[in-house]
Structure formats: structure tokens, C-alpha cells
Symmetry: C2
Subunit: 421 residues, 2 copies
Amino acid sequence: MVERRTPISVSDAVEKVMSKKFEGAVEWVPISDCDGRFLAEDIVATHDVPHFNRAPYDGFALRSVDTAGASRENPFEFEVVEELGAGMVPQKPVKEDQAVRIMTGTQMPAECDAVIMLELTEEIKKDSRIYIRFKRPLKKGENVSFKGEDAKKGDVLVKKGSMINPGIKAVLATFGYDKVPVAKKPVIGVFATGSELLDVSEPIEPGKIRNSNSYMISAQIKRAGADVLYFGQLVDNLEVSLEAIRQALEKVDLLITTGGVSVGDYDLLPDIYDKLGAEVLFNKVGMRPGSVTTIASLENKILFGLSGNPSACYVGFELFVRPIVRTMLFSDKPHLQKVQAILGADFKKPNPFMRFVRTKITYKNGQLAVVPSGMDKSNIITSLAGSNSLTILPGGTRGFSEGDTVFALLLDDQEGSVWPW
Amino acid sequence: MVERRTPISVSDAVEKVMSKKFEGAVEWVPISDCDGRFLAEDIVATHDVPHFNRAPYDGFALRSVDTAGASRENPFEFEVVEELGAGMVPQKPVKEDQAVRIMTGTQMPAECDAVIMLELTEEIKKDSRIYIRFKRPLKKGENVSFKGEDAKKGDVLVKKGSMINPGIKAVLATFGYDKVPVAKKPVIGVFATGSELLDVSEPIEPGKIRNSNSYMISAQIKRAGADVLYFGQLVDNLEVSLEAIRQALEKVDLLITTGGVSVGDYDLLPDIYDKLGAEVLFNKVGMRPGSVTTIASLENKILFGLSGNPSACYVGFELFVRPIVRTMLFSDKPHLQKVQAILGADFKKPNPFMRFVRTKITYKNGQLAVVPSGMDKSNIITSLAGSNSLTILPGGTRGFSEGDTVFALLLDDQEGSVWPW
């Protein structure tokens, strides 16, 4: 007998999944290995930056008060009493009409409050002393980077959950993080199902296709920020598959199967969920592609039964798995970032269900536009290659036209969105 | 004597660097390791996708011609003569008023040209035979994925130079790439210079700062798609530094030094370039930050003398080093993608030079907007942490106002731009 399933809405489905508790864990990695990882703690300034007044340019430090009146007609000459290389600390007090040669980044003498740039001076030697001549007055504070002007001790500089980019890594180095607290990568197990699947190294044969979903989803898992454990293909035997899944669950935080979740007669997964004692949160979602998505909860783990259709599998991962991964990576915006855009093509086919169209976002004259990245049947994989976004076409509408305002989810973005979108 | 340098324009500088020849190399990696790498060859469909007509849904394959006239009032009953599980190949010819139970993805019997979805049928047993009853006619081709509809043999599906994303990985698996031809990662060497630099693990002390540039630039190198070899700090001795650089050059494709390129007295690099016999392409660029950027060419290698100021170093890398890396990764759009955006803040300070402001791009009502990600002095590192773009403010202007249309370069984008922007 055919099982009739009742679809729930996409937002009910997301909320059901996200209502479970997911806890991230911290690990410390050497700063040289922290790129692309997610911060497990806020980064707080442990000292002012800069932590001393310093020269932002090569030049001469002096007291601005002494420069009043300098002009082209009336150039001033100051004696250079010290020369400070990078990293050196002033040794001599600077008096009236004196200057100190100072290099970029060097600490200012305490008496000085301005720096005249090297290019604006002329060096003069008289009686084995060195003088500079210059033709303009300086303002108090001119060309000085003041202590704390970049960051004050105690400032929160980077929020936890941020992906470490080059700028964040610079901040970490500045504050002496030779080891960095990052979120442990959640481990996601993957099983493929489907007797039609050939291994990637096998030649094609009638009625069979190569297993592309396992490779695709492993890439999605890595992009989301997690590690993947691929367990191979489930065999068409309930007891064997059940045992394989039981063993896998001990090694992972989340478990994904692709395929075998449709209402077909050969689908073992409902029985497996049942025998595991897992609570099925839903087994059909009002969306295209991906309506035959089943998600079940077992203790603190989630089992995702994603569709065997590549595009449905892809969308199911991004909507339901990614936000859990990002939550475990301490993000407070774990969902794909949702942006408004102009639709670049007609979608005349009405659809009772919410539709996620694989699209490419382009920027035209400062305006976001989305165009389909290929045909949009759920079994079409080539359109996934060129897509950087999923455009949301709400269900229950009469189709969409080029120029309509729509919303799209960004696939390669690290900013994220809160829920509800 | 102070050396007076003549700045060249940013576009002259980029063109001078890019006029050199950079050759990428190919290596083959297992498909499981190809994520984020760059394709070294176009991916061409070696067979049609799908390579047989198949059912996109679970249901019953039949001949559409037999269904004409079916309706609620006049339901039809077809005998089910075969049951095809995934991966199975039809064995029996399908005759008039017969149907074949078929699973998602399964090859269609040659005689059938439509699939009625499982949900629209009722199963009936009569005399130990199985029949389906249904109440609507089907069109020729309805619910059939036709051979080649996703991709035709010979189609170029993905261009070389593309970064491998989950969708591209699925395409690679589909066509049997158990090993994938990717661009070899260029190797970039990094030296820090500056006696003011402390190691990241050292406590801060007066006049000294921790070395953040080496960490930042190593992250930029990785983000660009290359590998980094960090050689530590150059010492303040010409012969020793020269020898260190000579040895480093044997191990790398490109070599970066940060710091030691300003017009200060302690700068050894001009002498080093001279003794190496390197051709200095330019030593000053009309831009802020990063005007004191020196780039030299030696045989088939480029030496980058980037500023010691973090922001100047950052911008110098993205403008001059990244496009070389991406060229060696086979991209035909190696420069940062340039997009139009609305300026979200005033920049009243006039500047003779082109300015690159560290900004954060946001999407508001489908419109790109850029706001400064922090203070914009060239020594300010914390603003780098929050930036995802560099906004270009052309030189020679009287300042910019909120609401002005500007252009920005996207830092985290994989699309890229051709030159000129």
C-alpha cells in the first residue's frame, strides 16, 4: 500500500529541526592553522592598539608648538638630536626647536606631538650637527597614531562564530594568540543508498549512474564548516543497514543518507528509523525540489534522509543541515543569508509548493539580479555547478516574471541570516 | 639623502606586473581532495546526462496513447506487468493498457513515454494480478527525464579556472573523474622585516608590536589559492638578508617581503634588489594605503616589497599578488570582482591619490551598499577584520558623500573580474 505523507511547510520544518539543542565544542589550534575556522570565543583587546603613540610615516617628531610661524618665506631649522629606528625607544628628552628622526611605526618621544613627513624636509649639516629645514607649521597631533586609537583595551573586536579571515588573523596575532580557540568541526556521516549507483571509477552501464551525491554533499559539508565521514553505500538489507547505521552513529554528530527516502517500495529507511527508536520530525516538506526529505531525531543526534535527486539533496542540506553546523560553530546567524534581488527570467509554471531555484547572482549597476543557472528539474546536476544562490519562489502563486522582486539565499556567503529569514 | 620616488598610477602598476608571463601547472588529485581547488581543464560531458530516458518520480511507466479519455468519471485500469527497482533494466515489452512499476531514476521501458505518479494511482489486485486505476490522461513525455536533457555529450560544462564547488564536484563524479586535474598551487614565500616586530608568542614591550602581517598575508595567500612558505624575519644585515632571499627564491614562485620598503634610512631592500639584478618595475604607487609598494622582476619570478603597514600590505597583496596567483590557477578573470555600490558614509577628505577603503558590503532592498568597516588610517588592523570589500575612491576629487555611487572590490568572491576593471 502506498504511504500518503502530509507535507509540512519549509518554515515549520526548519523550526522543528532547529528546536533541538546543538552544542558546539572548543579546541585550540596553532594560529598558522586557523584560517577558515570559526572563532569559539569573542576576541577582546587585551591592550590598547597601538599600545604607544607612534609615527605612521617616516619623518621627524617634534613639538608642534615650536613650529608656529614656519612658512615658505620663513623656513625653520631644528636640530636632529636622536635617530629612532623601528622598535627603538626614545632615550633623550626633546627640547624646544629640536627634532627626532623617526621611522614608520616607531614610538614617539614623550615631548613630541607631531611628525613632519620626510618628504617635506631638507637635511642640513652644520658643524657636524644635523638639522632639518621645513616650511610649514604642524598641528598638535598631526601625523601621530595615538595610543588606543585603533582599539581600546577591553573592546570586543571580533564576535565568536566569525569565520577567521586574513583581517581577523591579523587581530589574533596582534593580541598574541599563538593558539586560537576555534569551534571543533562537527563530524557528519554520509551513507549513499540506491542500487542504481556506480562508483565514480566505474564505467557507465544501462540503467545505472555514477554516485555523485556523496561527493557533492561531502563538499557541502566542508563548505558549511564540518568534517565528513563517508561510510559507503547501504546495502538492500534491513538488518545489515541497521547495524551499519548504529555503528556510524557512534562516530558522528549528524548522519545523512541520500536516496532511499521516497515513497517507493524499496525504501528501508522508515523501518530503520523505527527500529532505532528515532523520532521522525517530518517526512515530507512542501518544497521543490526536496519534498521527500525525512528528518529524525535520536538522543542528541539528527538523522537526515535527503532525497537521492542531486538538486533535492543539495537544497535539503543547505536548508536543514547547514544551520545546525553553523550553530555548532557558534554562529548566531546560522542560516544562509537571504537577500532581495530582481528576477532575471520568467518562471511561468505555477507551483503549489515553495520552490528553490538554482540561480546565479549577478551585480548590475549596484543591483542584485538572479538568473537561473541551468534547467530546473530536480535531477539536473549541471545547473548546480554554476549556481551561487537559491532563489525562493513562494508556493501558491501563478508564476513569476522577469523583473519581479524575489528573495535569494547566498550559498558562498559567511555572513548568514537569523531565523526567520 | 632622501630618495624622491615618483608614483605611478594603480592601473599602470597592475599592468606592469601583469605584463610578465605566469604559467600554471597541472596536477591530478583524488576527487575527495579537490574541494576549493581550481580546475586545470574544461570539463566536457563524455556522455549524455541522463544517459537513458528515466523516471524522475516513483510511479508507473506507460504508453500515453493508451490513457486518452481517462477521467474521474471514467477511470482506467492497466495491468502492472513488471516492477523495476532502481538500477534495474526493463526486461519485458510493455503492450497496450499495460504499466510498469518504476522507481525514481530508473530507466524507462522503451515502449513507454510517460509516468503517472504513484500518488495519483490506486492499486488493485484481481485474480492474483496487479492493476492500477487512474483518472486522468497523460501527455507524451509527461514525467520523463529524457536522455541528454541535462547535458549532451561534448558540452563544455565547467570552464577551467573555476573553483571547485559542491555542484562542480557532482559534475566531476558524474563523469567519472576519480582523479581531478587541478592547478598546482603556486608557492609564495614570505619574509617579515622590522626590528620593531615581536613574535606572536612574546609579551608586548615598549616601542614594539607583534608581527601580525606575516599571519595576515599567509591567510591572504591561502584565500587567493596558493601555498605559503614563511621564512621568518630578515635580519638587519645586507649580506645575510641577500643570501636568505637568494635561497628562498629557489623554493618559491613569488616572494613577498613586508616592511622595509619605505623611504627610511634602514631599508635594505633597494640594495638587495640591486645586488640580485632584479628589475624594479616601480617603487611607489599613487594609492592610499600602500603607496610605498615596490615590485621587482627577476627571471620568471616576482618580488613584492609590500608595506609594513597592515592595511597597506593587505591592499598591495589583493591588487598585485592575487591576480598573478589566479592567473597561475588558470582563471581568465584573475582580478577582484569590481561591483557598483552606494556609499553608506561621508568621505570628505580630499585625496590626490586613489584610495582603497576597507568596507563592508551589505545588501539593502536588492541594492549593494558599502560602509567603512572601521577607522581608515593605514595602520589600523581592526577594520580589516570586518571588511569584505575595498571601496575605490578615485584620487583628485573633493571627497565623497553618503549616497554617492562608487565601485568596490569583493574580497571573498570567486567570480573575479577581467582587466581593466
